[in-house]
């Protein structure tokens, strides 16, 4: 019999994750501008990597060819942005790790992505709703990052922002068409919205690392992105005839390396080749 989800995600998982990097001893918290920058960059790069991987899982499985191509193209944009963010993270860290090493040879507790992006794809509507909720945050995030005090971050953000303008246009358009579509498509979009809503609050929760990065003008404070996100989401949901869930409950922990049970499964698929044949190239 397959184990139940509660068996897989034990209450002690967070504690195990915390002590694992120290091989049995709790790793000492390092506080330095360099470390903050590394964490901030992995948060950006892990979001695009994990969402890019999730979206790439659709390749060859979409409802129609055009949507298959569109999803693959969006995944490609996100993976391309990952190479820039994680490439810079590796450079900042200065330990000889490049974007590939960070993507393929870290464990779940070292990933800093939002829990939202590791959610399984579900149906096509669910994937589009996740994309929209993320894009509506990603766009103002990249707009703010273009004013970063770190020129390397500003230039990557300027590049990525042009691509993400297409993402948000497409995901908003499809959320409206499916929400204000047939009875069946409306029901599925509303269900997706309710399932994903508790994962959106984490986007706006800052921690001490965020506060220090914001103070230094490197990255925006997460709280500052709520207003533009709300504006986009409110307008699109209204046009889509979807009802915004009332609950403000937010699952959190991804940004600190505490992930859901889905993360390990995703990494198993994404990392297996580099884990089995370290350094393999072709």
């Amino acid at each position: 019999m397959a184990p139940a989800m509660s068996d897989i995600m034990t209450p002690d998982a967070a504690e195990l994750a915390r002590v694992a990097p120290g091989r049995g001893k709790a790793a000492a918290e390092v506080v330095s501008p360099g470390h903050d920058l590394f964490v901030g960059l992995t948060r950006l790069g892990d979001n695009t990597l994990i969402l890019g991987h999730r979206v790439s899982e659709w390749c060859g499985h979409s409802p129609i060819l055009e949507e298959d191509i569109a999803l693959a193209n969006m995944a490609l944009d996100l993976i391309g942005q990952t190479q820039l963010w994680l490439g810079l993270a590796g450079q900042v860290e200065g330990a000889g790790r490049d974007a590939d090493a960070l993507a393929f040879r870290r464990d779940a507790w070292d990933f800093r992505n939002l829990l939202l992006v590791e959610r399984p794809n579900g149906d096509f509507g669910h994937t589009l709703m996740r994309q929209f909720l993320f894009d509506a945050w990603h766009q103002p995030m990249l707009a703010a990052l273009q004013d970063s005090s770190d020129a390397r971050i500003a230039e990557i953000a300027a590049k990525a922002a042009k691509e993400v303008a297409y993402h948000v246009e497409r995901s908003a358009d499809l959320v409206i068409r499916l929400g204000d579509g047939t009875e069946e498509s409306h029901r599925r979009m509303q269900a997706a919205l309710e399932a994903l809503w508790p994962y959106t609050g984490e986007m706006f929760l800052g921690d001490p690392t965020d506060a220090r990065l914001a103070e230094a003008g490197v990255m925006p404070a997460p709280e500052a992105l709520r207003a533009p996100w709300e504006a986009t989401v409110t307008a699109v949901l209204a046009e889509a005839t979807l009802v915004r869930p009332a609950s403000a409950f937010a699952h959190k922990g991804g940004k600190q390396g505490r992930h859901t049970e889905h993360m390990g499964h995703l990494l198993t698929s994404m990392q297996w080749l580099q884990r089995s044949y370290p350094g393999a190239k072709w």
Partner: protein
């Protein structure tokens, strides 16, 4: 041997884009700068889209071309600023795209407002009709969108204004 920079630009103007071979790398506007740093030729290249898989092939082809012309000390640099825009595609390359069956970008990226209702009027590259519709925001590559002509019914790629 240090060939003149004009000569190097001309050589790179002979290297076709790997995805769209009717236009060259210089037509596409992705070669941003060429300079001699002492005895080393430095070529600054900007990616079209950050995930464009043609980027590594493009770098290989630049290197192969310049080596074939006798350039021994060569360094390629990735340049992200300013980010690539279709505004840099030359007028002759726009004609070549159209003749090849790809509708060239309409208007200037700097002026495009991508919000709803501002869809460009894209002419069919086969019959010239402007009665066309967008099928998908993304086409065969990230830089293109899928369109369909309502007059001649042919599907075609539109090189998005970016």
């Amino acid at each position: 041997m240090k060939p003149a920079l004009d000569q190097v630009w001309a050589w790179l103007g002979e290297v076709p884009d790997p995805e769209i071979p009717v236009i060259s790398l210089t037509d596409l506007g992705i070669i941003r700068d060429i300079v001699w740093e002492g005895e080393t030729l430095v070529v600054a290249v900007t990616p079209t889209y950050s995930g464009c898989p043609a980027t590594s092939v493009i770098n290989l082809e630049i290197e192969a071309k310049l080596r074939s012309k006798g350039v021994e000390n060569l360094r390629l640099e990735r340049r992200l600023t300013p980010p690539w825009t279709t505004d840099w595609i030359t007028p002759s390359a726009r004609e070549a795209l159209s003749a090849y069956g790809i509708a060239p970008p309409v208007g200037l990226a700097a002026r495009v407002n991508r919000l709803a209702g501002s869809a460009p009027e894209v002419a069919c590259p086969r019959c010239g009709a402007v009665d066309t519709e967008r099928v998908s925001q993304f086409g065969s590559t990230p830089c293109k969108a899928a369109y369909r002509c309502r007059a001649c019914l042919e599907p075609f790629d539109y090189f998005k204004c970016h």
